[in-house]
Symmetry: C2
Subunit: 236 residues, 2 copies
């Protein structure tokens, strides 16, 4: 049996890191939801970078550039991390460089420790679960959180995925944070949108008039895209 | 209104730390339960230190010494962190130096950032909640966790205390980890012992034949002792 564990913050990831573990990185509002959407709409690759400076360097070389800080699009970048901004024909076949407050940083922290990084969101939940079961390896779900703090929406997703992995019969959980995530999931599953109404980041996005994004990021199984990190680039 | 927040790991405490915040440190299995018990049985002070070396230096000066690593009593020390070991007449009026795997380290991390540190456990839950409401300040509940990882029993306690503070009408919570802790508490409150049967640290203690300690640490309101940190010493 393989183990599934949940890490609530990139700051804690050092305690979970092992080279041979599959790491599912999740930043529901909104980086990993946006990345999955980019692939659904034909992107060839997404290059996650941690700083705006790095993203500008790629942009100067002709890459499409996405950048978000504190929920808003970075000046001069084509995209932020709204999934809707990636729903256009212009990205088909293109390579996109992306930097976000929490998500791309979490991807790069994970990449320092593990060879197998995959992108999770509700939009690709079922396909991701099937792919993960087939790997036959231990799994850590890394919640990007909000500036290194626990957040509710990422742990809700962690609970949803843990639940599917346990149902597969191929995984066990001996991890308190995985079990707590399952509690969050069980509390939320009937109406995730209402459940998250008091969550801090949903309120932050509502303040930015991004309620449509929030709703979209909670939809499940819209795509079979399962982006993997290969030599610094996310690809299918 | 004052805010209540929950920090799931000492590693994350830097994001919560403010000088004027009351910090409730909790390590249910078993350091903070043992400390509260020591005061219930008449201890004059408990000096929390982070290393065995420091504890031995106090011991050499004539202090009673308690030390625990990975659930077992440190060689040459009078106590570990079983609450039962502090239930004896010998500690009345005495000063005890204590070092444990997670709890005393969390206390000392909190002390670097805040002037107001208090010890929480189920054993003093009601008295602690009353004391905390009277302070009329923001509160962070710092879970010691297990070697910097989230654990279920400390977040269960955090949820129980958050619940009481919200009931008081003097506190609000805009913190996802406080809200998740309340979910854990609501799932567990009918039978905390059974709820925690799958939790990693309870299993670890069962392996060490410490089931009686686990049961004891989940009893509520056995004492009104509310230990506070004053110049490096816990006192009433």
């Amino acid at each position: 049996m393989n183990k599934v564990e949940v890490c609530f913050s990139p700051t804690l990831f050092q305690h979970f890191a092992r080279k041979d573990t599959v790491v599912v990185v999740v930043d529901i509002f909104r980086a990993t939801s946006a990345i999955v959407t980019a692939f659904q709409y034909g992107a060839k690759a997404v290059i996650p970078v941690s700083t705006i400076k790095e993203a500008r360097e790629f942009q100067a070389k002709g890459f499409l550039a996405g950048g978000e800080r504190n929920g808003e699009v970075v000046d001069g970048f084509a995209f932020g991390n709204s999934p809707f901004s990636y729903m256009n024909g212009g990205i088909a076949g293109r390579e996109i460089v992306l930097t976000t407050t929490n998500g791309t940083r979490a991807i790069n922290i994970a990449a320092k420790h593990s060879d197998s990084i995959v992108i999770g969101s509700f939009l690709n939940l079922g396909a991701l679960a099937r792919w993960t079961v087939l790997q036959d390896r231990d799994v850590v779900i890394l919640c990007a959180g909000w500036k290194d703090r626990f957040n509710m929406e990422d742990s809700l997703f962690a609970g949803a995925l843990t639940n599917l992995l346990l149902i597969s019969g191929k995984f066990i959980s001996d991890c308190d944070s995985a079990n707590a995530s399952c509690l969050v999931y069980r509390s939320a599953r009937r109406n995730p949108l209402r459940f998250l109404s008091s969550c801090s980041h949903r309120k932050r996005l509502a303040h930015l008039h991004l309620e449509k994004d929030v709703e979209y990021c909670l939809r499940t199984d819209l795509t079979d895209a399962v982006p993997l990190l290969k030599e610094g680039r996310l690809v299918l």
